[in-house]
Amino acid sequence: MSATQPEPAVAAAPTANPLFPFVLQLADTSLILAHRLSEWCGHGPVLEQDLALANIALDLLGEARSYYQYAAELEGRGRTEDDLAYLRSAVEYRNPLLVEQPNGDFAYTIVRQFLFDNFHYQLLKGLKDGPDTQLAAIAEKSLKEAAYHLKWSSEWMIRLGDGTPESRQRLDKAIATLWRFSGELTTPTAAETNLQELGLVPDYAALLPAMQAHTAHVLAEATVPVPEGVFAQQGGKSGRHSEHLGYLLTELQYMQRTYPGLTW
């Protein structure tokens, strides 16, 4: 269907601003995780955590909007934040595989969140001091939220790991399944390496020591051994996604696809 429309050809043309794909990647990452977390709304294990999950989802959605607005501006082709969020196909999405993974049980959601928060927090700290003022401003605003997210998911890692035999068994299973998606976060794509060399994006290798120290601290408290030598599954940041993303986008984009141009 899209082959008959001129739009994809335009979108595939090289963009002038090298920051555009990176900002779009940040936007997609926050949006997809926000959507996953919003799926918990009304289904949380207890009312208090239902709200906590929804709060985090809304924080990430707000952050995603800032990135999409900035990305639209960087692209300068007249696309809006809504066009970027609602009218791109799964292969055009640039989020890492981790954030599109299904919620599973509460332990899955916590492990996914912990792995993301640990990276997100350090990334924002780096971006906050970066040379791009708009990106730095978004990072500074989001950093406080990310700090709380990391505190929340870290506490739950400890509670589930050092909790009951059942919570421990569920946490172990989630770690065994999801840890392989953590490596992609800090493995730069060619585009990211280029931006890192230009000094626009923090060097991920420099973020790792703080991330690893936090992981070691939290897992020690949780009495869980730190997984070692885990294969790093890649692909999302290059548009090679798991089948889960298509289903997610079908739901996320349903309104705009069915009623184009619909507004509240």
């Binding site: 207890v46 208090e48 955590q49 709200l51 906590a52 709060n55 505190k151 929340w152 506490e155 509670r159």
Partner: protein, 95 residues
């Protein structure tokens, strides 16, 4: 009591302008640390406060509503207990 249920906590929030923590409601949590976090997520979503106190509900001892009459009504006709029957000299400021 069902042991799989987390204990109940009462939440007190101090607003930005306020000097006192006011009771805002209750929630369930496994321990004090979780209760403070849950209170943050449940009761401070709209800038309600800058400080949170939580106390496990079982530690609060209340007066008995059935005894309200003998507890509180006798104070009703003792207006002389209010410090409003003194002539304040003009030289006393800020009263």
């Amino acid at each position: 009591m069902n042991n799989s249920e987390w204990p109940l906590w009462e939440v007190f929030i101090r607003s930005k302008q306020g000097l006192d923590h006011k009771h805002v409601g209750s929630l369930h949590a496994a321990d004090a640390a979780m209760a403070v976090q849950n209170a943050r997520d449940v009761y401070t979503r709209r800038l309600e406060g800058v400080s949170i106190w939580v106390v496990e509900s079982k530690h609060i001892h209340a007066s008995n509503p059935d005894e309200a009459a003998e507890f509180f009504d006798p104070a009703a006709d003792k207006v002389y207990r209010h410090p409003t029957f003194y002539d304040v000299p003009d030289s006393i400021k800020h009263m």
